[in-house]
Symmetry: C2
Subunit: 175 residues, 2 copies
Amino acid sequence: MTLKPLLGTPLKRFLRDYKRIHPVSVELAAVLQSVEYPANVGSIFRLADAAALTELVLTGITPTPPNPTIEKVGRAKSLRVPWRYEREPSVALAQLKEQGYQLIAIELAEGSVPYHTFTYPEKCCLVVGHEDHGLTKATLAQCEAAVFLPMYGQGLSLNVHVALSVVVYHILHTV
Amino acid sequence: MTLKPLLGTPLKRFLRDYKRIHPVSVELAAVLQSVEYPANVGSIFRLADAAALTELVLTGITPTPPNPTIEKVGRAKSLRVPWRYEREPSVALAQLKEQGYQLIAIELAEGSVPYHTFTYPEKCCLVVGHEDHGLTKATLAQCEAAVFLPMYGQGLSLNVHVALSVVVYHILHTV
């Protein structure tokens, strides 16, 4: 078989047909607890659109739209992804828990399990933290579980939007 | 169970113990066919370290280390990840195929299958292309298979380093 590029209308039709036949079967939200860099927030908006997240909640010092870097990196997806700002992460987490979401931290913590071995519920909210400082002790204590990405080299972490993307796509195709 | 942050030496020990018990069982390389932005190349170096890729081959107009953005975004991982530059992607792909790697494009193409449904061999080389133009027709024709990331929103793609990260971590934990 020779592989051939897919462009323009045929590409759009290909993706549209795929998602019609394989709709997303999970309710997946995300809380950003003081993610500091607009480029990461933009990437997460692009991911939120791609993965049809139900909601993105920005908290703490997380920059919010309108912001030129968020819009550029996020391909203007903040105009269509359901999002809101809530200063206190604890308030956002309590609300989401109340709505039936299981709160799952993406963090290396005592009690954290490899992300690919965890059994995710059909309604979960992923919680990610600051680029350098991760999640606070208080946020982590509010979460019901934590997962981490194994690191097979010398580095201790991947970028926050990359880690979130890996876990989101894993959940989309395993739950 | 209360989740607690893991920092400093305990964190390093946690990751070191994990990778000792769960070593990477696949040989995974990647070819960048004219990935243009240094920030994406840097992210891919950080991923290559994290996932213990056997080799990263930069081709065409892909910027190469030393480059301040690649080093910063890549956390200086170009100093430890095995990489080389080869101007012609076709030459790099032929060499890797000769070494026993199956060449798998990450691209929306005629004949492309969802990345999570593909049966990956134990030795594979992922091939990614330019941020806007993707893989050329010639590169795509040289690949033995192509996989794509389903897009469940309005956008037609994720960033190249994000797509590569999702596929790499999927292969690490399924092959």
